[in-house]
Amino acid sequence: MRRRILPLTAAALTGALALSACGTGADDGPVTLRFLSLAWQTESVEANERLVAEWNEANPDIRVEYVQGSWDNVNDQLMTGFEAGDPPDVIHNDSPALAGFAARGYLADLTGMIPEELKEDIRPEAWETATFGDQIVGVPFLQESQVFIANRELLEEADVRIPTPEDPWTWDEFAEASEELTDDDTYAVAWPLGNPVNRVLNLSLSYGGTFFEVDGEGRATARMGEPERAVLERIHDQIHTDRTADPGTVGMSGSDPLPAFFAEEYAMVQVGVYARQQVEEQAPEDFDWVTIPTPVGDTAEQGAASQTLSVAADSAHPEEAAEFISFFLNAENQVDLALGDWLLPTSQQAAAAPELNTEEDDWNVATASAQNLVVAPYLRVQGFDEWKNRVAQPALEEYFSGEIDIDELSERLETEGNDVLSRYH
């Protein structure tokens, strides 16, 4: 017979384990730390494993065990680990997840454990993405900014100015350029909007759209005003009014539109900076691409989250774990990690490294975009994850596919959203 696991039973078991599990008890031998890493790109996994090996060689008393995790299910895995009292000691994750875990007391406060040097090296905006209340619950190290990757030839043929970090497009210029770039067999833009929530919220900051109001006691309410609607409507218009963006990419996520981009079906595709790696690897030999910054509204600001390393509150050796993190994320190592994942380092020294400022693969454009990253407001919202999955994700999908209009979208994000958020008050 097929075996079934009733979540009910699983929930019960987890609870029972939480009661019976307790600390492993300190012994005098060498300390072993488990490091749950979510690195997945080949170069990045190599960099991670190499750094762990380096550490183990230099610190025989604090052995670090590399555990491979996956972004797909890390939060479910951590939740059961935390509840059972047996989480990994060093945890790789990102700041949206930290907010919830920190509020439940699962993560150790690292405030007194991070060396001054590292504290000053990492940009203050990045620290904010891992600071909740007055606790630092993670060390931020990689950030993703949003960019467009464009087909240089098509832009030059259409006589469109290629924007630079110093002189980016405004949203209006972007819309005009898109008109120029659209013809019978080419759309100007591909907006992959399969998992749109974080990205759209991050971009909305260029008009000051924060989507939430958080009161003094940390209770959040959803809010849809003019600033929140601005970027949403501009994207929607491109797809449904101007017809400069391909409606076919609305259901795609991440780098799905790249093959058609290489086939010149679109002139530009909106992606995170890391997608440069896939473009570099997969584009045809003679394909000339250029990274361009996202358009500016009232400001050039983008919301950002960070990838972080945290220490579990239940770890038996928090200080050793913090020591390992400080080594792992020093400026020199951040350069390697950033190169491995094609993302931006939070360390200012690392960001100045020549490898991250060459024109090769547009690293200079990518690194410059870090200047505009500010902490994404939704990181402060208790229950954001549920708001995102239950309310915003389906509502935005319907909005971008043209089934509902902006008023209905706003209504749902607020009303249904506040129902969800009130569970966390």
């Binding site: 979540p7 009910l8 929930a11 479910d76 699962y106 999955n389 994700q393 389906p394």
Partner: protein
Amino acid sequence: MSSTTAPPRAEPPPPAAPRGPGRRPRAGRPDRSVLGLMLPALVPVVLFSVAPLVYGVYLAFTDARSGRNVDVAFVGPRNFADLLSDGDFWASFQIGLVWAVSVTVLQLAAGMGLALLLNQDLRLRWLARTLAMVPWAMPPVIVGLMWRLVYHPDAGILNATLRDIGLVSGDIDWLNDFSVALPAIIVVGVWTGMPQTTIVLLAGLQGVPRELREAAEVDGAGAWRRFRSVTLPQLRPVITTITSLNFVWNMNEFALVWVLTQGGPGGRTRLPMLYAYEEAFRYGFFGYAAAMGVAIVAVVLTVLAVYLRRQLKEMR
């Protein structure tokens, strides 16, 4: 009714459990030595089934949520009251019913067809019977991954085939389209569940006396009539049993759908069990999730009781 087949009881027994002809009369009270023998078997049952179940039911009446040093308070039936007004839960419940009923019915229909076929005197019957069991041998996660490849919008074999024979021009994103995602996973559900339905029905078919069919044939009944008036009534207890079991299994399906869609797009394939899982392990509301579990068990038992009563009545 076949004399070797016991009628199913309210709690689904294993299919076609044979009863020994000479059962000893039971004493009013089980004696000590019997209890002693049962103990080793009872301990794991109590430890791993009864205790978690009781704990789960207890959780359903508390506000247990995830977190360190969380105080759990008894809240009475509040979780159930919340559940009644939770539109998302009822939507998910409706999806669960559509899923469980369609998968069960289609499994029965397809399984019956296959069983009748495999009951014929075919060449290489042994091979066909073995092949029919293949889906059963695969873990649900593997089945899910495999079908995800089949349904893949660009690289999937399904879209490629449909394009080749000219039925569609564009790519259909089977698992992410709001309207086809549920039918798409139902097909997978039927595919995975067919073998055990087939094998149980096949066993039942082999218990149908050949003479009855021959007699009907002599009386001039055609193939359809023989099936409807001879085979089907003989199979009735088997059908009742396997349908009830399938319904329970399908209602509680988790792994397969989790791998295929994780409940997406926009919750269109979020079966009740996926909803309970999300509630517990993504958002950390253990108490509420346990209440969902209890509610689902209650509804499944009610549906089963009504169905089995009707079936048993008709059989008498």
